[in-house]
Amino acid sequence: MFGYYAALAIRSLWRDIALTLLMVLTIAIGIGASTTALTVYHVLTHDPYPGRSGELYRPQLDPRESSDRSNASLRVGDDEPYTQLSWIDAMALWHAHRADRQAVMATGSFRVELPDSQVMPSHSFGLYTTADFFPMFGAPFRYGHAWSEADDERGERVAVITDTLNDMLFGGADSSGRIVVLRNVPFRVVGVLNHWRILPRIYGSYGAVEFTDEYMAYVPLAAAIDAELRPAGSRRCWTEKASFPTDNQQKKSAPCAWLQMWVQLDSAAKVSAYRDFLTHYSEQQRTLGRFQRPANIRLRNVSQWLETFHAVSDESRVQVWLAFAFLLVCLINATGLMLAKFMRSTGTLGVRRAMGASRRTVFAQLLIEAGMIGAVGGLIGLVLAYLGLWLVRQQPNGDIDYTALVHMDVGMLVVSIVIALGSSLLVGLLPAWRACQVSPALQLKTQ
């Protein structure tokens, strides 16, 4: 029966080929635009650390002077504490070991060369951090391993480098034990990462959420500071006259926030205990006279962090809204056209009804016709979406370099197909129902 209906549908569609093409095109463009926008949005909102992000928390303290209003003019508002910590606070929280794991970090900017190399050194970004960073964020190793907490404590000059840097300096060979020179100081490679390019990055110093170039090397924070490697990115000093010292040793006592910290807390009880710990610490610092404000702490997990600091620019949200308004226009338009198409064939339908076809069979046949248009339109729409994504990848994107990541994954493909099928059936429903309402007798009479 389905085959017969399909044959009827094809014949009917062929009769009004112009109208059919118009409907297919309308649906295709609508689906293409909306799935493109949705995919871009999906890439920007996806969880960068699936399975872990619920357990990773970002502690924030508020060391600002009571009169400080510098945040008031910013989007986050006056009540929001700094996202970064000072050396004193970060080290106090790190040494306290109140979380299951804890890592302190700062983005580094340094030149990289080999000890005996005559070529001009290249400049790279990297991360100064502590041992727990690697297991917390699930960094995969190709060669070697991470450094240990004992290395952190001793300020051991070791480094974990990315496969990109390893390819560049060592031609991709296992470089464990080899020496790289960072800003004139030799560091011994202990591990090489295996293709780890996860964005957005949430532990950098340039912003709460970063989409910048890859970090090339990771070195222990204590060793980096000791070797006068420079931290890069943003920093906030909270007393009037303070500015960020150039000398690394002075940075340790400066009233400036320039370090990030993430902690891993495996249960709700631990989260609440850690929150109490932060409040307690903050109040203690106030008693000591270091902090002025009453405890104003934050402890956000990864998704709350991304939500707060707008991993997704408003623009891409607006784009999704616009794209779906666009899809709506296309669908209503297609509905109107399909209604016209079906009403045009009420004569034939009247004959079929008069010959004994039930209202339900006629309705089913019309739905098949609508479904065919929708399926073809949806298919072309997906092709258009791939084309749209290709176009997005060609666009320069300034500070947010996510465009290279914009691809349709399996999940998005399924969502797109569901949207395409759902909307085509939706488009067919009303016209098919209307066409069935026409009484056969009346139709035959007007013929």
Partner: protein, 416 residues
């Protein structure tokens, strides 16, 4: 007029017989109108940023960010700075060289300050957020344009580190500010000679000159892109300064190569962090605006096209449905023009209905965008603009079926 008025009654009764199609068509027009007027407005915001006036010789400038591993505050750092600047000035085609703490329109660094009118506001950092520029020969190298007052006194320059190091009480005696900033801080007043505080705990600085434009490195804040001040401070390479080199537009790549070679010759261990023409920096920062503007333009055109094609399709159906009636009217003496006018008028009425709904929708959409995305309110003239776009689309789209209708012969009245 009278002919048109006569048309109205049959139009309305004909329309009311096809309520569903009518509702769908009006909905499409309304949605299009709402989306198009908001999209065109969003597009204008992006274009405005793209065409932000630089106020300096953007096309003649290149920047170099180099890391020399100099010991902060050392004599060697000062010696190397002088050597490097001298060597760069000797290069052919180089007109001017400056060391600057910031590069305008290059978002890679931003040194914020707060311009406040009293010390208390400066201390609580609640003044106007500005970019603080500094560096010897900066104004001349950039080619800033003075609109009032005078340039900074070359003898009054102090070391950058002395002003900005921890606990420093020193502040430069004078500063240049941009016209936009002067308007914000002292609206309607002459800013020359006015004191201000750019950070707490320091004596005030006096405005001695107003420059036409000087954008902040990072563009944000509608109407605040130009909020900058220039201080008479001297940079040394160990302060993390950028070289700015002015040359001829056609010489930029050659000068960049020569300059990097020179820096490498002076210090074989120098690492070049960045080197590019300043126009590249703007393109990098604003490339997204261009992309967004293009995307929105594409969206509007496609939307109007889809709406137009929809009108063509539905009107054709309508004409076909009414073949016999049209034949009857023709037989009764209606001319081809009458029929044409009938369908044009019908479309105009439908579109107008859609446009009225569409304007309400545009307003609603704009409210939502304002509320959730902090976008400015949709200016009033975008409403008639959207209406005009839809009326034009409608009339153009209906022309084809209407012309076809006008060719229906009176004999169609008799046909089955």
């Amino acid at each position: 007029m009278s002919a048109a008025a006569l048309d109205l009654k049959p139009i309305l009764s004909a329309l009311l017989r096809h309520k569903v199609v009518l509702v769908l068509l009006v909905l499409v027009i309304a949605l299009s109108c709402g989306v198009v007027s908001n999209s065109v407005f969003l597009m204008s915001l992006h274009l405005k940023r793209l065409h932000l006036p630089a106020g300096f010789e953007e096309s003649q400038l290149v920047e170099i960010d180099a890391d020399n591993l100099l010991i902060p505050g050392s004599d060697e750092a000062k010696r190397h700075t002088r050597e490097a600047l001298d060597a760069l000035r000797q290069l052919p085609s180089v007109k001017d060289v400056a060391l600057s703490n910031l590069v305008p329109l290059d978002y890679s660094a931003f040194f914020p300050g707060y311009v406040a009118l009293n010390e208390k506001d400066a201390a609580s950092r609640s003044g106007v957020l500005v970019a603080v520029y500094g560096g010897q020969d900066l104004a001349s190298t950039l080619g800033l344009r003075l609109v009032a007052g005078r340039w900074l006194n070359p003898l009054g320059f102090v070391d950058y580190a002395d002003v900005f190091k921890s606990g420093s009480q020193a502040a430069p005696a004078e500063a240049l500010i941009t016209r936009a900033l002067a308007e914000r801080v002292w609206p309607g007043e002459n800013p020359l000679g006015k004191p201000f505080y750019f950070t707490g705990g320091k004596p005030p600085t006096v405005v001695v000159g107003v420059v036409e434009h000087l954008p902040r490195p990072v563009l944000f804040g509608e109407g605040e892109e130009d909020f900058s001040i220039v201080l008479p401070v001297r940079m040394w390479l160990d302060d993390g300064a950028y070289y700015l080199i002015r040359t001829e537009a056609g010489e930029r790549q050659r000068v960049l190569h020569a300059a990097v070679d020179t820096l490498h010759r002076l210090d074989p261990h120098v690492a070049i962090i960045a080197q590019r023409p300043l126009t590249d920096a703007r393109a990098e920062q604003l490339g997204k605006d261009l992309a967004m503007a293009r995307m929105l333009a594409g969206l509007c055109v496609t939307l109007l096209l889809i709406t137009g094609l929809g009108i063509v399709g539905l009107s054709s159906y309508w004409v076909q449905q009414r073949r016999r009636q049209i034949g009857v009217r023709r037989a009764l003496g209606a001319t081809r023009t009458d029929i044409l006018r009938y369908f044009m008028l019908e479309n105009f009425l439908l579109t107008s209905l859609g446009v009225v709904l569409g304007m309400a929708l545009a307003y609603g959409l704009s409210m939502l965008l304002m509320r959730y995305y902090e976008l400015p309110r949709l200016p009033w003239f975008y409403f008639p603009l959207g209406a005009l776009a839809l009326w034009t689309t409608g009339q153009l789209a209906v022309l084809v079926p209407a012309l076809r209708a006008s060719t229906i012969s009176p004999a169609a009245a008799a046909a089955g």
